[in-house]
């Protein structure tokens, strides 16, 4: 069985056109697209699961904030109580400042880790990097990765991508 096909397009509009014509066929799967900037119209064509990043960030932020508050409360009320100008030992209004700051940082850090987790990065080598011309995916060219169900549909797919305006169609073989 042949591997997926990588088709190179000179501009985003041609790529979107090709992706739309692939979408209507049930025997070809649209795997991914590669572009030098986030192309909005493409996002609807390749559906994705709901991202877990925001929830991860929320949980990490709040739990860190709660931990920071608990640490302050424990140190100021239980372990090292100081009468500072008659203020209550649990001076909770000012104890909110530190949890707010570290909570936001923890949320950002968790979001970054979630990004790495969900994208599989860092992954310094990608089989696609071996394909000549793919380095332009980060500059000015647009790529589609699609797979046919069988060898025949792959041939048809190659033809379809060609007629849709792909300048080059390459088969991707697993490394």
């Amino acid at each position: 069985m042949s591997g997926p096909l990588l088709a190179e397009f000179p501009d985003a509009a041609t790529l979107i056109g090709a992706a739309r014509s692939l979408k209507v066929r049930s025997d070809c799967g649209l795997l991914d697209a590669f572009a030098p900037f986030p192309v909005e119209d493409l996002e609807q064509l390749i559906p994705a699961r709901r991202s877990a990043t925001p929830v991860t960030m929320l949980l990490a932020g709040f739990s860190t904030a709660v931990f920071a508050f608990a640490l302050q409360w424990y140190s100021a009320v239980v372990d090292y109580p100081i009468n500072s100008g008659g203020r209550p030992l649990n001076s909770w209004p000012v104890f909110l400042l530190v949890p707010f700051e570290v909570g936001i940082f923890a949320a950002a850090l968790a979001g970054f880790i979630a990004l790495l987790w969900s994208t599989g990065l860092p992954k310094l080598h990608n089989p696609l990097f071996d394909i000549p011309g793919f380095e332009r995916a980060s500059q000015d060219h647009y790529f589609l990765l699609a797979r046919g169900e069988s060898d025949e549909t792959t041939l048809e797919l190659r033809h379809l991508l060609r007629t849709a305006g792909a300048t080059r169609v390459t088969e991707v073989r697993a490394p």
């Binding site: 590669f34 030098p36 900037f37 991202s51 530190v98 700051e101 000015d140």
Partner: protein, 455 residues
Amino acid sequence: MSDVLEPNAAAPAPWVSAYRASDVEITQAVTAPLFASPGKFWWIALLVSAPFVAWLVAALVWVFYEGIGVWGVNSTVVWGVAIADYVWWIGIGNAGTLISAMLLLTRQRWRASINRFAEAMTLFAVAIAGLMPIVHLGRPIYAYWLAPYPNTMSLWPQWRSALVWDFWAIISYLLFSILFWYVSLIPDLATMRDRTRSRTGQLLYGAFALGWSGSLRHWRALRILHTTMAALGVPLVCSVHSIVGLDFAASLMPGWQESIFPPYFVVGAMYSGFAMVVVLALAIRWGFGLQAIITRKHFDVIGRVLLMSSIVMGYSYATEWFMGWYGGARSDRSLVAFEFTGTYAPLFWALLTCNVVLPQALWFPRVRRSLAALFAIAIAINIGMWLERILIVWNTLSHGYMPSLWRVFHFTIWDLAFVIAPLGFFAFLFLIFVRLIPAVSMFDMRELAHRENVA
């Protein structure tokens, strides 16, 4: 080069000053200067800024060795240049992330041209700002006592102290800003990885690009994270500078214990930060020939932001004076009189001129369109904002409750070192940054060019 972005002021698109800005032209325009030799002016600028770095190191060594008595501080005016520097630098440091995050959330497309270097400005400025309180501690070897850690003395930090809030605010903000900046840098690092021909470049850019392939799924994940971080970044920035304001407002000194301080410090931060962005944008635009990407329209809108901020600053000053009078306390009224007529009065009038009077010229479209005028006003604002910070410190401490304790600050040569040398250090870091990392976000620019129909 034929395929580098050709600037044309007559082009119709508002935020790209060219008739055509294709993906390849934007990539070329931003990356080509990084692969070419840096040029005469860059070397001259680096050589000029290098002695300032040495000066800063020497000043730090001397203060650490001799103690903070080398400054003009005394037992009445216990704060000085280091504290004013801290507030000023963190103000500039707040603006980069604030500008970038706020413009992202409000969908201001023109942020594409300025977000990258504005955020780099933030990183360097916050790093310098974070140094200042440590220098001012007097016993910098004990700076780590601010952190809660298990210790044989069974001590804990005093959580009710503004110094402890500062510590957490600066650390959280600096680390957050590095992440926010880096996340939006990954795709551009991949572009650099794919364009550079040097082996070292490929290794370094490749490692930091994390294997970015431009996959649609990755773009989606990046956008979700970046937008969420922006939404968190705005309240974080406001809280950080509010905490700086609380350093003063949580005290019991006349002129400091005012509820207006936190918001007024945040606006002041945005004000000085935007002024610094003007200076850096002009330098980058000229140095890299990016007239098509950083357009006159950009300077026009930044001019409007500066004008609005200057009005808010003027209003805040007036509120301070009004409350000083209306509150009726002798110490507050006397302090306002001291500000206008006392020892530091010439500086106070200079501050009002720089921050409130001169920026009113920005009402005129001709001034906003003149880059020279905008540059001059931006420099004046930065000077004015530094004067504001030092005068907040000096005026109150020199004119507290007890007349027998009234003393003035005697500016020494080491104070001067801490005013000037960090500027050179900042310039030095920034010069290195623009040679290593694309100073303009390329993928944001490509998206902008496609939206403006010039790609």
